[in-house]
Amino acid sequence: MSALLAVIGPAFHQLQGQLPASAPQGNNIVAAQAAIGSLFSIHILIAGLVSGAGELGPAIEFLGYMRQRRRYDRLAHGLGRFITLYFSVSSTIAILLITVLLVGFWGHFWTTIVTIGFWPLFIEAWTFVLQVSLAYLWYYTWEPLRAFKGLHMAIGGLLAIASFLQVYMIDVIASYMLTPTNPQNPIRLVLNPTSYPLTVHRTVGNLAYIGFVFGAFCAIRYVRARTQEDKAFYDWAGSFGLLWGISMTLLQPVVGYSYAKEIQLHAYASWYKMMFGTLSPVFLWQITLLGIMLITATLYFGRRLRTDGARGAGLLRAFSVAMVFTTLLAAQPYHLAFTYADVAAAGLDRPFWDGGLINPLGSMIPWKVLALMFYTLIAIAAIVWYLRGLPGVVWGTARRGEERLLMLMAVLTMAMMVTMGFIRENSRAPFLISGEMTIQGQQNTQSSQPTPAPSSSP
C-alpha cells in the first residue's frame, strides 16, 4: 500500500515537469498524452494476447499430438479461434494510433522513426499479413487436415514464427527509441543494446500473459459449464493456463534485471528515472504485484490439489506462506520520503530505529535481489510439487475458490502489463528518441518553418 501511495505523487509531479505546455495543433498536451497512452495500453493488452496465442497455440497442438490427448487439441483450437476473432481489434487500434494520433500529434517524430526503421517496419507490416493469413489457415484447416496433423502443425509452426517476428520487429523500433545506435548500420540497428532483452522480455511476457488470460477465461466458462465433459476441460485448461503463465513469469525477473542493466549501461538518465528516482515507487509496486501474483498462483496450486486430496497440498500451503513473507520483504521502501535528497536535507539519513527515515531492509541490493531469487526458487518448487500432485487430480471437480483465483490472476497480469508499458514509455521522457529528439524539439518543428532533415547520426 505504501508503494501504491508513493507512486502517485511524484509520478504526476515529474510528468508535469517534463511535458511542454501545449501539444501540436493547439490540443491540450495532457489530453493528447492520455489519449495515446490509454489507446496504446489497450492495444498492448490485446496485441500481447494475439501474438502470445499465435506462439502458444501451435505449441499446445504439438504437445497434444505428442501426448495423444484430445483436450490439448481443443485448447489449441480455442486459441486459434481467439486469434481469428481478436486480430482485427488490435490491428484496428494500431492503425488508429498510427494514422491519426502519432502522425497527427507527433508527425515529425513519426517520419523520423519510419525513415530510420524503414526495413524493420516494412517487415513488420508483412508479418501482419503473414500472421493473419496463417492464423485463418491454421484455424479453418483444423478439421480438414486432421488426417495430416504433421502438415497442420507445420502451418502452426509458421504462424508462431510470424508472430514472433512481428513482436521482434516492433521491438527493434521500440528499443531503438530508448538506446539509439548508428541507424546507418542495419545490424547495429537490429541488435541495439536493449533489443535483445526487450524481445526476450516481451515474448516471454506475452506467453505468460496469454496463459493467465485463457486460464481466467476457462475459469469463467467452468463456472457456467453444464456438462461434465466441459467442466473437466475448463478445469484442466484453467490449471494449464496458470501453470504455463507462472512458468513463463519465472523467467522474467532475470531477463528484466538484465534489461534494466542494459538501460543502466546505455541510457543512464532513463535508468535513473524510469522507476522515479531513489525511492523507485514504481519498482516497489511492480515487485509487490509480482509477489501477489505468485501468492495467488501458489494458493491456487495448493487449493486445487487439496480439493481432490492429491499429495503435496500441505507443502504448497507452506510455499504460499513463504511467498507472503517474501512479498513483505520485497515491498519494503528504502526511505520514507519521495527522494533521498529530501531525507538527506532533513538530516534524517540514518536507520529508522535511530529516528531516521532510512529502512535498510528496503535496499535494492541485496534485499530486493534476494526477494526476487526467493520468488523464483519458491515458485519453481511450487510448480514441481503441483506437477507431482497432478496425477491425483480428477478434472472437473474444482471449487469456486480456485476459479476466482484464476480470474484474479488475469486482472493482476493486466495491471502488470500496463505498469510495464508505462515504465518503458515514460523512461525516455523528455525524449522521444533517447538523447536525440525531445518532445520540445518535435514541438518546434510543428511550426510554419520547413521541417529540418532528421538527424541520423548516433
Binding site: L63, M66, R67, T179, T181, L191, N192, P193, S195, Y196, P197, V200, S247, L250, L251, V254, V255, Y257, S258, K261, E262, L265, H266, M364, I365, P366, V369, L370, M373, I380, I383, V384, L387, R388, L390, P391
Partner: protein, 387 residues
C-alpha cells in the same frame, strides 16, 4: 587365406583379437532413435580429436609467459598447417561443448538416466564438468590478451568461496597474481591432470554403455513396459531374437528390450560416421576459413582492451554482471548446485516413466534450467555486441 590372413591368425591365437573385435562391433542396438545416439559418438570423436591435435600442438607450444605467445605467433606467421591444427583444436573444442550439451539434453529428455543406467549418467556429468574444465584451462594457454584476462577473471571466481577463497585463488595462480606459475600450473592441469581423469572416465562411460545398451527413444519401448495408467500392456513381439546386452527375460519393465534391434556395425557406425564426418568437415572449414585467433601479447597495463569472455563462459559472465556485491558467492553456488542436482537426478526421479511428455514434474524444471542458460547466453552476447 594369404599371408596377411595367416599373420592375423597367428596374432589372434595369442591375443584373441578376433573375438574382441566381434564383441565390439556386432552388438544389438535399437533401430529407433539411432540418429540420436550419434551425439554420443560425435562427442567421443571430438574428444579424441582434441587429444590428437593437442598432442601435436605440444610439439611446438611453450608454456612460458615469454614464449607461449611467441611460439603461437610463429605458428600463425610461418606455419600454415600448424595454424590449421590449432584451428581444428579450437573449433572442435567449441563444437564439442555444443555437442556434449546436446548429448546431455537428449539423455535428460529421453529419461535414459533411469535404472539401471544411473552410473552412465553420473560418469557423463563428470565428463561434462571435466570437458568444461578443459575448455577453461585451454583458454589460458595462448597468453594473448584474451587468454590473460580470461585467466585473471576465471581464477578470481573461486576467490569468492567463503573462508578458503583467497587460498584457492593463490593455489591456482601460484601466488597472489597471475603470472608464470599460473600458466605452468594451468598447462599441467590442461594436458595432464584433467586428461588422466577424463580418459578413464570415458572408458567407464563406454563400458557401462555396453553393459546396459542404448536407451535413446522411448518409442522403442512403447508398450513394452507398464503404462502410466497402470494397465499392463503385453510387450510387442520381437522382430529379432533378443540379443545382448538386452536381457532375454524381461523380469522388470525397466529391463525390457527394444522392439527392434540391428548390428552396431555397420549400421550404427554408418550413422555415427556420417554425423562425425559432417562435424569434422565443418571443423575443418572453420579452422581453415577462420582459424584460431591470436590477439596481442598479454599486457596487464592496457587501458584500451576490453576483455570478452569465451562464448561458453557467457552465462556465468552474465551472472557476474547481474549478481550484486553482497551475493557474489552465488556465481559459484548456482553452477555448483546445478552440478549437484544433475548428479542426484537419477535418485530424485525414479519413476519408470520415460516419455518426456508424460513426466512434466521433471521436464519443466529441466527445461527451465536449459532456458535459463540459453537466455543468459543470449543476453550476454547481446551485451558484448554493443560494447
Amino acid at each position: 587365406m594369404g599371408r596377411l590372413g595367416a599373420a592375423y591368425n597367428w596374432f589372434d591365437e595369442r591375443t584373441a583379437i578376433r573375438s574382441l573385435l566381434r564383441k565390439g562391433l556386432y552388438e544389438a542396438v535399437p533401430v529407433r532413435g539411432a540418429w540420436f545416439y550419434t551425439l554420443g559418438s560425435a562427442t567421443l570423436i571430438l574428444i579424441l580429436l582434441q587429444l590428437i591435435t593437442g598432442i601435436f600442438l605440444t610439439l611446438l607450444y611453450v608454456p612460458s609467459v615469454t614464449e607461449a605467445w611467441a611460439s603461437l605467433n610463429y605458428l600463425k606467421q610461418h606455419d600454415a598447417f600448424g595454424s590449421i591444427v590449432r584451428g581444428i583444436h579450437l573449433w572442435s573444442a567449441y563444437i564439442l561443448l555444443f555437442v556434449i550439451g546436446l548429448h546431455m539434453v537428449r539423455t535428460f529428455f529421453s529419461g535414459s538416466y533411469k535404472r539401471p543406467r544411473e552410473l552412465n549418467w553420473i560418469t557423463g556429468v563428470g565428463l561434462f564438468v571435466l570437458v568444461l574444465g578443459m575448455a577453461i584451462t585451454g583458454a589460458f594457454l595462448p597468453w594473448d590478451q584474451a587468454a590473460y584476462w580470461t585467466a585473471v577473471v576465471v581464477t578470481n571466481i573461486p576467490a569468492y568461496i567463503p573462508l578458503v577463497g583467497s587460498f584457492t585463488r593463490a593455489l591456482w595462480r601460484g601466488g597472489d597474481f597471475v603470472g608464470p606459475i599460473t600458466l605452468s600450473r594451468t598447462f599441467g592441469i590442461h594436458v595432464w591432470l584433467l586428461p588422466v581423469i577424463l580418459f578413464p572416465l570415458i572408458g567407464a562411460h563406454l563400458a557401462l554403455l555396453r553393459k546396459h545398451g542404448e536407451f535413446g527413444s522411448y518409442i522403442n519401448y512403447r508398450g513394452a513396459y507398464r503404462s502410466r495408467e497402470g494397465v499392463d500392456v503385453p510387450p510387442a513381439p520381437q522382430q529379432r531374437p533378443i540379443e545382448p546386452p538386452y536381457p532375454a527375460v524381461p523380469t522388470d519393465e525397466l529391463w525390457a528390450a527394444p522392439l527392434q534391434t540391428e548390428d552396431f556395425y555397420p549400421h550404427q557406425t554408418f550413422k555415427d560416421g556420417a554425423v562425425t564426418a559432417a562435424l569434422v568437415i565443418l571443423v575443418f572449414i572453420l579452422a581453415v576459413a577462420i582459424g584460431a585467433p591470436l590477439e596481442q601479447m598479454a599486457d596487464p597495463s592496457t587501458t584500451s582492451y576490453t576483455p570478452v569472455p569465451e562464448w561458453f563462459f557467457l552465462p556465468l559472465d552474465e551472472l557476474l554482471l547481474l549478481v550484486p556485491k553482497q551475493l557474489i558467492p552465488l556465481v559459484l553456488v548456482l553452477p555448483a548446485g546445478g552440478v549437484l542436482l544433475m548428479l542426484t537426478l537419477p535418485f530424485i526421479d525414479r519413476d519408470p516413466e520415460r516419455n518426456p511428455f508424460e513426466r512434466p514434474a521433471v521436464m519443466v524444471p529441466g527445461a527451465f534450467a536449459v532456458l535459463f542458460v540459453v537466455i543468459l547466453t543470449l543476453l550476454g552476447s547481446g551485451r558484448l555486441f554493443n560494447l
